[in-house]
Amino acid sequence: MDVVRRGAGAAAPRSTVGGVQIVTHSHREGVWTVVSVAGELDVVGGPDLRQQVMAEVRAGNHRLVLDLHGVDFIDSFGLGVIVGALKRTRLLDGDLRLVVPEPRLRRVFEVCDLDRVFVLHPTVEAALGAGA
């Protein structure tokens, strides 16, 4: 089933000044749950994504693909949320795969050496098809 959430599932979107809240959309692909994210992963959008990941994990979805193709911006706060998501899934013998097609987002991961923690896949298909 497809689920679209604005913010952390709140009924009314939270606005930022000149910014965009995050919007997430999740669907199943076999054993994987693909969470597509759009917006800005910073100190405002990051907590919303953390809530979304925790909701998925609580629902028993421990194998997540985070698709960041709709993300316009990421900083250390957003990176921290993604590292936390990996920790949460692995604690439950799950895993987290990342789709990061945008070079400017990839650069932020690379500058922090997080491309050594995650494989940055160009597409959801590549992430789903990657070996364990």
């Binding site: 606005s15 930022t16 000044v17 000149g18 910014g19 965009v20 800005e40 910073d42 100190v43 405002v44 911006f73 990421i74 900083d75 250390s76 706060f77 990176l79 921290g80 949320v81 590292v83 936390g84 990996l86 920790k87 692995r90 400017r104 650069r107 932020v108 500058v111 922090c112 050496d113 997080l114 050594r116 923690v117």
Partner: protein
């Protein structure tokens, strides 16, 4: 800078330099995206500034502004956070000033190696690293009364000149 008022009193006049933009924002995280938008738009005015460098500056300024807001929040400071953006011929310099209690950037603990299992225990601690890595100059001046973070990116012309020696 000062000037005489109508009654001969000295009145303060903002000493703006050409190419200087000053933002004063409430110390609320909702304003970080506005700062990014303004700084990036200002940097776009510089004709010789690479788009990729502007993206780098956007991330670095986001880090500094978020830290400033958090510092105000932690110490109950209600004043605004000040962001100065100076456009010059061959660089864009941004100073983020807060009135928190200050911090020592060299004392930010190093994170474990990326492959180490304990790396996943650290969800924060990358902000100073990003500011240093994504700018051509970064300076942190901190005292008990606040912190100035100065972030500079060079134009492509200046980067070429520097690399040519």
């Amino acid at each position: 800078m000062a000037a005489d008022g109508p009654d001969g009193d000295e009145m303060a006049v903002a000493d703006f330099r050409p190419g200087e933009i000053v933002l004063e924002i409430p110390a609320r995280t909702e304003f970080v995206s506005l700062v990014r938008v303004v700084v990036a738009a200002a940097a776009e005015i510089e004709p010789d500034m690479d788009h990729a460098r502007i993206e780098d500056l956007r991330v670095a300024v986001s880090e500094a502004t978020t830290n400033a807001i958090v510092a105000h929040d932690l110490h109950g400071v209600t004043d605004r956070v000040r962001i100065q953006c100076n456009l010059a011929d061959d660089e864009v310099a941004v100073v983020v000033h807060d009135q928190g209690m200050g911090f020592e950037p060299d004392e930010v603990p190093l994170l474990p190696e990326p492959e180490a299992p304990e790396r996943l225990l650290h969800e924060s601690g990358l902000g100073v690293h990003l500011m240093r890595m994504l700018t051509d100059e970064s300076e942190f001046s901190s005292s008990e009364t606040g912190t100035d973070v100065r972030l500079v990116v060079y134009s492509s012309k200046r980067r070429r000149r520097n690399s040519d020696g």
